[in-house]
């Protein structure tokens, strides 16, 4: 517990974060990209084709990890918003600014890959069912967070507004998750649920897990990388930045 408290407080210090994050970014990129290469080659070249969907099912290896991760990022942004509202921690704001862009791109990609997958399997790229619509709402929420951040010149006020919207918008996450159970949707229910038997063959499941882990690692590296840029931009006139750049 002490270790966690110490790390939490240290991560709130911009110089500590800036210096410490560099090694993490390199490690996360190497591990993440390696996993993505393995998962993608395995998924595209070595898993059997689906009995009904043929090869188009392989879109699962890109659609599912991006869709899951975009929701996870939204939850993380809302948690950071809560941390900012309660403790006014600068790094929570830096995290929000850095993560919302990636969340928006991942949500857009999840929608795009869903549309491409829908054409051969549903006979249409888009339906206004509960799952697709709630994910579209998530994209609008991310875009709204980006716009709100840019529209308010005072960074403290902008961070407060973004925090509130992120926390309110997190209500959409259970709607996305349970939309396929609560409503009649064209989108299939989840194949993997805690406490339920897995409804996907292991030969198809492994590349999915590997790609998911790889994408999580790369995304963590990307967010840390953006956070370092924001920290440097905010602290550009401070003494530690001068020292840090002089020693390189």
């Amino acid at each position: 517990m002490n270790w966690f408290r110490q790390t939490f407080h240290r991560m709130g210090s911009p110089p500590y974060f800036y210096r410490g994050a560099r090694k993490w970014i390199t490690g996360l990129y190497i591990v993440g990209l390696a996993l993505l290469v393995v998962g993608t080659i395995w998924g595209i070249g070595f898993t059997p084709a689906d009995r009904l969907q043929g090869d188009s099912f392989r879109i699962i290896y890109f659609h599912v990890p991006t869709a899951h991760l975009s929701q996870l990022i939204y939850i993380a942004v809302a948690v950071a918003g809560f941390v900012f509202l309660v403790w006014r921690m600068k790094m929570a704001d830096v995290f929000m600014v850095s993560a919302i862009w990636l969340g928006a791109w991942l949500t857009a990609f999840a929608l795009f890959s869903g549309i491409v997958w829908g054409i051969p399997t549903w006979g249409t790229g888009w339906v206004w069912d509960a799952r697709t619509t709630s994910v579209l709402v998530q994209l609008f929420l991310f875009i709204g967070l980006i716009a709100l951040r840019g529209a308010i010149p005072n960074s403290q006020r902008a961070a407060l507004a973004v925090s509130v919207l992120a926390i309110v918008g997190v209500l959409n996450i259970p709607i996305i998750k349970y939309s396929v159970d609560w409503f009649t949707t064209l989108h299939q229910p989840a194949s993997i649920q805690i406490g339920e038997p897995i409804a996907i063959d292991l030969a198809m499941l492994w590349p999915l897990l590997i790609n998911s882990l790889g994408l999580y690692a790369v995304a963590a590296g990307v967010i840390l990388s953006h956070m370092r840029i924001h920290v440097l931009r905010r602290e550009r006139d401070s003494e530690w930045v001068a020292k840090s750049l002089l020693t390189k």
Partner: protein, 45 residues
């Protein structure tokens, strides 16, 4: 039903572009920012 060429490759292609974009762009921005700070604060490299 669906084949690689029509459905899978466009998704793979865009995924690769997305991964390259989100990993390379921050690195370039970071370098540019360091250069800019060094110049404005007159810090020798």
């Amino acid at each position: 039903m669906g084949g690689y060429a029509v459905y899978v490759w466009p998704v793979v292609g865009l995924a690769v572009l997305l991964v390259i974009g989100v990993t390379v762009i921050p690195s370039l921005l970071h370098r540019r920012l360091i250069k800019e700070i060094r110049e404005t604060r007159d810090l020798a490299a």
